[in-house]
Symmetry: C2
Subunit: 207 residues, 2 copies
DNA sequence: CGCCAGATTGACCCATCAGTCAATCGCGGA
DNA sequence: TCCGCGATTGACTGATGGGTCAATCTGGCG
């Protein structure tokens, strides 16, 4: 494993395969590409993919878990901070939008190939995905207890609406040909929170 | 084509294939099933699928378009009515939730498989999907002009948040093993509108 | 220098499956 | 009764692609 620390060493090749997989999955879809496409894109022999990963599935698995765990950590860290609930939601929204800005292809793969894959893949990662909902729901619940949020809807539901809104925005970007501008990213962060927290109604409902 | 009107006639077989495809796609996923699975499920010979459809893709295509066009018609019809914007959104929310209640497997296929397919062969569907956004956005825009809705966010964005929230709720049901109860369906319809229109904040933002 | 372990290679195996097609069926009209 | 044509059948084909594996390379270590 000494090789792992040098450029061109083992860990690098593994990383190269993962990065190549992101590009290939994003371009052709998980089912639409061959393992050899990944190997070619990575500039590596076919068999090496199977040296580092048990299967094609495990490559996607790894990509998802790597990123999703970061998201969970961020939410957990935020949850601990002493800031307004609305700011917490803004921070989560920011993190996800910035994740897309930083690596749209990876987010595309996660959203299209994993999050929406009810069969095969989603099943494995359901708990991980639910964990994110639960953490967001917990933030909402505390906000309701503190009186910052109304309790017209359940925390779990609010969490879904919040996450759903974000994911839909990303999905819009994913299927757009043109890349979003910088100000669109910033606008999206604000709009998500503004919609979910502020609501569309001019006159607030009697709650 | 006279046979089309009798039970067991031509149109019936076509319908049986489509219905069978829904069940099979829902169970194994579009990529995870074989065309022979569809034929078997429909109680029909393999080749007949290709008598009625050019390809496996076209079967999925047809299922999506059939349902999505109904949705578009409903939204258009609603748009013309003289009711409060919030009620229009509630009606849309109701229609989609009821669609799921009525045929969860079909909605599962549309949400899960079509989105993924949009990558490869479903480019056509993107326009159809966008059409729904546009119609919802138009409702929001008019509401803003009339003063019923704030204009803190763009209509297009509000439409995405709204649709995203609904889709996420359905996705939650799809992933859940247990089927939702009747009251959950009704609650969901209300909660979507309550969240998007009413917002989570107790104190309305200064808009 | 020779050895070992892990890295790397890519040809090959073989199960899978979308799509084809020639043959048969059966209804409705003449 | 017979004919024609669309409906229906299912064996077959051809390609595809995930996964295996035996051979080769490399570089550190004694």
């Amino acid at each position: 494993m000494a090789a792992a620390n040098r450029p061109g060493g083992a860990a690098d090749k593994r990383r190269m395969i993962l990065d190549a997989a992101v590009r290939v999955f994003a371009r052709r879809g998980f089912n639409g590409c061959r393992v050899s496409d990944i190997a070619d894109e990575a500039g590596v022999a076919y068999g090496l993919v199977y040296h580092y990963f048990r299967s094609k599935d495990e490559v996607l698995d790894t990509l998802f878990l790597e990123r999703w765990n970061v998201l969970l950590d961020v939410i957990r860290e935020l949850d601990g901070r002493d800031i307004a609930p609305r700011d917490k939601l803004y921070a989560i929204s920011s993190f996800i939008v910035d994740s897309y800005r930083h690596d749209p292809e990876l987010m595309k793969v996660i959203i299209v190939e994993v999050t929406r894959a009810a069969n095969s893949f989603g099943r494995t990662h359901l708990d991980k995905i639910r964990e994110a909902y639960d953490l967001i729901a917990a933030i909402v619940e505390r906000a309701q207890d503190e009186g910052a949020f109304k309790d017209a809807v359940t925390p779990r539901f609010a969490a879904m609406a919040f996450y759903g809104a974000i994911e839909q925005v990303l999905t819009g970007w994913i299927f757009d040909e043109r890349a979003p501008g910088e100000q669109e990213y910033e606008q999206a962060k604000v709009f998500v929170v503004e919609t979910i927290c502020g609501g569309l109604d001019r006159v607030p409902a009697t709650a």
